[in-house]
């Protein structure tokens, strides 16, 4: 009885997993097949000899390495600024008593519920007023005060026992030293989790970069791919999938090398408590 139930579970999971993997399989396979082969419907089986011509066309017709560099600058720019802003804020909310802390904290929590996508129009006006249209920094600034990160880290900082703080203060530790030498090392798993979620999220950013950039020199990978599709309207699927593979590869490689950390990070990314 138990055994039969187990087999059924595996069959269901296996079918789901394979079905979910089809798009990834198609991206990888088709990136290495010539367009005319795909056009005749022969795209399901892996090619006997990988065809690299698609990538040649991709790199010749659009500056994808510039896009890659810009994406890296923007994504890590966001992450570094986020950590620099979020850690002290979470510290203040978790370990300092002050008037108005509840009301201020509400401002951070409400922001979690307000996606930036809703605020594109006013934010565009602000970025324009600041004279930052078509710059990399414009793609960074709106994301750096993360209510989500503040919430997540505040939880962790709160759990650290008061005695530890007292001991540190007796040893002559100020707030900054205590934060740097005690809290941050103890909160490392959460910081890693937040960082991975942030990298994955902002690697995908599309709407905001679409609005604030005009020139290829500052554009990111996602925008580059969108432009590339419009430019290659002849729909050579091999070439399009090569570009698609190129923009996804960095995060996918990161994902497959850090599997366990990734799974754990996203599992705990839910706001507990």
């Amino acid at each position: 009885m138990k055994k039969r139930g187990n087999i059924i579970k595996h069959i269901v999971l296996f079918v789901f997993t394979i079905a979910t993997l089809v798009p990834l399989y198609l991206i990888v396979i088709m990136a290495f097949k010539p367009g005319d082969v795909i056009f005749h419907g022969n795209y399901l089986l892996p090619p006997l000899k990988p065809f690299l011509g698609n990538f040649k066309i991709v790199f010749e017709s659009a500056p994808f390495f510039t896009y890659l560099l810009n994406t890296i600058i923007v994504v890590f720019g966001i992450l570094i600024f986020q950590l620099v802003l979020v850690i002290p804020a979470a510290y203040a909310f978790a370990r300092m008593n002050f008037k108005g802390s509840n009301i201020l904290f509400m401002l951070y929590v409400i922001q979690i519920m307000l996606p930036l996508e809703a605020l594109i129009v006013p934010n565009y006006m602000i970025i324009r007023k600041l004279g930052l249209i078509d710059t990399r920094i414009s793609m960074i600034l709106p994301f750096i005060a993360s209510g989500y990160g503040t919430f997540l880290l505040r939880q962790v900082f709160k759990q650290i026992p008061k005695e530890l703080e007292d001991a540190a203060i007796i040893d002559g530790c100020g707030h900054l030293k205590f934060l740097w030498y005690v809290l941050i090392p103890l909160a490392r798993p959460t910081i890693v989790a937040f960082s991975l979620v942030s990298i994955v999220t902002h690697w995908q950013d599309y709407l905001w970069p679409l609005i604030v950039t005009n020139s290829p020199s500052v554009r990111t990978l996602t925008i580059g791919l969108g432009m590339f599709v419009q430019q290659e309207s002849g729909a050579d699927w091999g070439v399009l999938m090569a570009a698609t593979l190129f923009i996804s590869a960095p995060v996918l490689i990161l994902f497959f090398t850090l599997q366990k950390t990734f799974i754990k990070s996203f599992m705990t990314s839910g706001l507990k408590g």
Partner: protein, 290 residues
């Protein structure tokens, strides 16, 4: 003793950006929603409720709202249900766990732009894998993205694929918090698999369900990238959604007044929905485990 200004030194940097890019923009939208501000006026002119009245008489606005609701309902509930189902199965098997987790979760990692590309290929009416598969089974082969009857459905199916793995992981985390003894007790009572999960798992993962529900409401309001890349809201307005309509009003027609009114409505509806869900379900959720 903490000196009074010290907490504010820690908060100041993030507070500046929080206000500049979240709270100032909200008030900005509210302010300009009462103004006529477009290509012809050049400068904002106060017009009272005119933008809101125009919005209520705009049939496209209602279509967009309707689409967004349909999109939300038909992505949120199937995704949540399947995510919990798969999480339970993965929790119960002992082999291939990592393979199943990775295989179902990777769509969350892939950029939406990339996902849109490959799904456009899969939805291709003659070449795409979906219609080829349906053809093998002698089933009708819809026009998917190009047909106003199925364009929204196409976006919904893709969204389920994209979010399923993330919600599944959240549920897996939630399942770890349920004491194993409860299942053993259910087994002794002779409850079958369905009854066991209906009476034990469902109520006890409700904190996760509440969280997933709120996350997916926000997600369904955010949807833009795939609409922009795959359908441009079409054919007609059959797959247009709120953010896409705001984008069109602001950056195609340069009607900042109208776009601001739409933004204000969207923020209010979103906050209202999230608070409603918290208010209605927040108290009923089983908190004993956290």
């Amino acid at each position: 003793m903490v000196r009074k200004y010290k907490p504010f030194l820690f908060l100041l940097p993030s507070l500046v950006f929080l206000i500049l890019f979240t709270y100032f923009p909200i008030s900005y939208s509210l302010f300009y929603s009462f103004h006529e501000y477009n290509m012809y006026t050049r400068k904002p002119i106060f017009c009272g409720l005119k933008n809101y009245i125009n919005m209520l008489h705009d049939s496209i606005f209602w279509q967009v709202v309707f689409n967004n609701v349909i999109y939300g309902v038909f992505t949120i509930f199937p995704t949540m249900f399947m995510a919990l189902f798969l999480a339970i199965l993965i929790d119960e098997v002992s082999k291939f766990k990592t393979f199943y987790q990775m295989g179902i979760f990777y769509p969350t990692i892939i950029p939406m732009t990339a996902a849109a590309m490959v799904w456009m290929f899969m939805y291709d009416p003659s070449l795409g894998i979906i219609n080829k598969f349906l053809g093998l089974l002698h089933l009708p082969q819809p026009g998917w993205l190009g047909d106003s009857k199925t364009s929204l459905l196409s976006l919904i199916i893709m969204a389920i694929w994209k979010n399923l793995g993330y919600y599944m992981l959240l549920y897996l985390a939630g399942l770890q918090l349920i004491p194993r003894e409860l299942y053993e007790a259910a087994d002794i009572e002779g409850a079958n698999w369905f009854r066991k999960h209906y009476h034990v798992t469902f109520p006890l993962v409700s904190p996760t369900t509440l969280f997933v529900f709120i996350v997916s409401i926000i997600q369904s309001f955010k949807v833009f990238t795939q609409v922009y890349l795959m359908t441009q809201g079409g054919p007609g307005y059959s797959s247009s959604v709120l953010v896409f309509y705001i984008y069109e009003n602001a950056f195609r027609y340069w009607d900042i007044g109208m776009a601001s009114a739409l933004t204000s409505v969207m923020i209010l509806v979103l906050l209202f929905l999230v608070l409603l869900v918290f208010g209605v379900f927040g108290k009923r959720v089983t908190y004993s485990l956290i």
